[in-house]
Symmetry: C2
Subunit: 284 residues, 2 copies
């Protein structure tokens, strides 16, 4: 497989840098090709602005409409070269790995800007099928690819559990897992989360690196999070769940078919690819 | 009251620009003082890097630890001047308004970078009370302030409802509302969301501006989202909800005391400050 590893940490001499090295070596051993976008090292420009689409026609009003300008520049191959280079890497890849420290419960600005600038309409989303139906959620420009988050947090694992104060990690990351990966057609894998990252000992870092290495062995085979397909029959024309899908439930968790209200009783039965299980032995 | 309005849209000649103008005029009329951080106009630097804390001591290892370097520079008044200017505005304000187009279900990178760079440990969080308890979730460096999101989305309102495909807007924004505002002690108000923003007619824009103007009248008096206080007795020492709090429930919604599984039957009874109600008549 071909793996694009997007690394968004300011310090290469860090636990995250060690995990990146381990990850790339493991991919080599497994016979996977890889390319790396080290956003800090590249001096990646985070902010969407007119320089992204220098030829944009803002019309009589002179008013910039970002979405339209992005799509127009994409179709005319006039997006700035740094954006086109990332799109070329994505097109090449079978798997995208996003590695970042969780800052304010989301990706650092440099990575958020990668999504804002690279995943433009016409390339990643906004495509239509032969019937004119817009392809979204399980279908889109990035269909067939898999996406894995590798993230580090200072907090303890319990605080990101089903009833932990920070919210379950997969719900906190819903804007990425569901709203970005699944929206563009990518299969979102369960995040690999390193808890207590600020207090890691050298031994703990080794354990974490081994856990990541084990995890990468299932990159190709593991079952992704089971979000619902927009065109799979569960949603009505207003894009609302039909009464028979997740009856009586609401909220972000209702959009997964492998999530149900009984899950609190089933934590022993989490699939092996869950980072929560594989990291349970780490110091937190 | 004193209102700091953080504006994160690249185009001032837009629906969002109109809403900013309306918002500031309304605040004038109501007798509130205001200051504006127009991030694009300021050329705000989005990315955390060593230039934020030029005097940081990285120790023998030469390894940059972002959190420590931020706190150390804050305490030594050595953060870069652009960051200190924002912290001074926050200290001045009673209310923070964050206005942005929702990109990939979160704030644009320029605003994400404002949180990453400005809300540093020692200033916004990481403070302790006299007993040594860390102040978080309902307490912290920004206690006593209120925070309002004003955001625009292209999608229809139904798709962000309790069972809409994108997830309920307050759950999608949980990293901001709960993980950033409430975490630092600010009272999060219900987001003011403009749906169908890409298809707004001139009349629709006027309606939206009026709805925002009405909404701002309750800035001081309306009840914030009722998230649980970390020290309010609902959480155990592992920061997990005690069995008697939201019994049998899990997920991000369990952290609100004004949210319950019956809410699907109660949508008529939403409080008047809900943007979902006040904008119901708008074209979507």
């Amino acid at each position: 497989m071909r793996v694009l590893w997007i690394f968004a940490h300011p310090e290469r001499h860090s636990l995250n840098g060690t995990l990146l090295d381990t990850g790339l070596r493991t991919l080599d051993t497994l016979g996977h090709e890889h390319r790396v976008s080290d956003l800090y090292a590249m001096g990646w420009k985070a902010v969407v602005d007119g320089a992204d689409f220098p030829a944009a026609d803002t019309g009589d009003s002179g008013r910039l409409r970002v979405g339209d300008a992005q799509e127009q520049a994409y179709r005319g191959a006039e997006l700035s070269p740094d954006i086109r280079a990332e799109q070329e890497k994505i097109a090449w890849a079978d798997v995208l790995v996003f590695q970042f420290p969780l800052w304010w419960f989301g990706p650092p600005a440099i990575l958020k800007g990668w999504f804002d600038r690279v995943l433009v309409q016409g390339f990643a989303f906004g495509l239509k099928d032969a019937d004119g139906t817009t392809l979204r959620y399980g279908a889109g420009g990035l269909t067939g690819k898999r996406a894995l988050i590798v993230t580090s947090v200072g907090a303890r694992e319990s605080s990101f559990g089903p009833r932990g104060i920070h919210g379950p990690i997969d719900e906190v990351l819903f804007p990425l897992l569901h709203g970005t990966f699944w929206y563009t057609g990518m299969a979102p894998l369960a995040p690999f989360t390193v808890y207590g990252a600020d207090r890691t000992t050298p031994e703990g870092a080794l354990d974490t690196a081994e856990a990541l290495s084990r995890r990468l062995r299932t990159l190709e085979s593991e079952a992704p999070l089971a979000y619902r397909h927009e065109q799979g029959g569960d949603y009505d024309e207003d894009l609302v769940l039909r009464p028979e899908a997740a009856p009586g439930r609401s909220g972000v968790a209702a959009h997964r078919t492998d999530d149900d209200p009984e899950r609190l009783d089933r934590t022993d039965q989490l699939p092996l690819h869950s980072a929560q299980l594989s990291l349970r032995h780490l110091p937190v």
